[in-house]
Amino acid sequence: MTMSHSIEIQHLSVGYDEGRFKALLDISLTVPDGTACAVIGPSGCGKSTLLRVIAGLQKPTKGTVLIGGERVNPKKQKIGFVPQNYGLLPWRTVEENILLGCRIRREVEEDTMERMQLMMGQLGIRGLGDRYPKELSGGQQQRVSLARSFLLRTDVLLMDEPFSALDAITREDMQEVFLELWQKHAVTTMLVTHYVEEALYLGQKIVLMSSYPGRIYKILDNPLFGSSEKRRQPEFFAMGQTIRDLIKEMGKSA
């Protein structure tokens, strides 16, 4: 079953107040199958709204979103959504939280438990299965959330500021953990962030969005994606500076 799960966004607009306030204006973007795209922009640029529309949580005013060539339908496609606060259910144990996605899709199979144990081992959360989320650190909660997404082998993965709540050092660790898992599964991913370095490290494509109304300012191809060596190199910082300058320029022109 090698279906393509690209994300195609065509002339997407979202308005509030009967279209008077535009949250998103004429967004067109393609994320090819098995690639990662980072969306970066100031607060209020509608990047979270964009993610919600792709997830089928919110209806667009205009335009379409296709996943694998079909209109978004949460019943059909498997859309993994990781909200800012990791989306763990406080009343479920770690194991129950990891299995949530599989449970919803009724895909708890013979090897699911085994795969879960394996994944918990890879993520360094083995032995925490019976704990509740509030007993875990932020980084551990994030790991549980990642385990949930990757266990269900979703068609696409949408992440809203996934690492923002973590302290700087944990954040870098988690980005590496995420990347390692991601490279194994190669699931089409869109992640929203306001950290330039995060976008550079985790996005093969970087989308710059401007605010009021939210629209795409620039799409960059990122040769520095996924390389932890390059992360310490001057070219990484140079590219980061370029993006910062672009964001500043975008702020002035708006």
């Binding site: 997830a55 259910l89 509030k134």
Partner: protein, 248 residues
Amino acid sequence: MKYSIFLSYLAGAAAIFVLWWILSAMVALPMIPSPVAVFVKLVDIFAKSIAVHAGFSLWRIAAGLFAAILVGFPLGMVMGYFPKADRYLAPLVYLTYPVPKIALLPIFMLMAGVGETSKIIMIFLIIVFQVVIAVRDGIHAIPEETYFPLYSLGASFRQVFQEVLWPASLPKFITAVRVAMATAISVLFFTETFGTQYGMGYFIMDAWLRVNYLEMYAGIVCLSFIGLLLFGIIDLVEHFACRWMQKG
């Protein structure tokens, strides 16, 4: 840990007992009998007469509580989850909630008779409002993002209920029942002084009229134990149903 909690409650009971005993010794009148005499009396007459009254009282509370949960939980759920339902129902709930239900007792006795029905309706009304509001607020307090990972996978309403709505509203629901229970027992006492020959309320007031203070006190102690028993059951339910609330 649990053992020490048990011990501290036992010590509390002993302290109350001793205070009562000192008071009775100081006053030295029949209207405050010694607790020893009261407990002896209670043991003596429990099986003979009090048990059946206690049974009636428990049945009325259970029936009222059951009806209140049956109506209140789904109603609170609907109001919490569907904003439209809340917009239409909230004014109704808020306008009727402050009406002292006990003041409606004469009306219910006129309509439903002085028998069981009006008593159960009374208990029902006391508890149902608390349940509706607690469940609704419990659901309102769920952050929007909690639903997203479920919605994005196309979860059915049944699944959303099972994974989010039910567990999220449970602690507030149980607290509401606990708070309402104390009022319900007082109201029960009051309603049992009318139109019945059974129930703890009847038993206590009857003993009072017969100037049998020992029996009256035995009845009060028994009614208190019923309250304690109900609280204990609620705590037990909470302990097992809301495990995630305990740790940390």
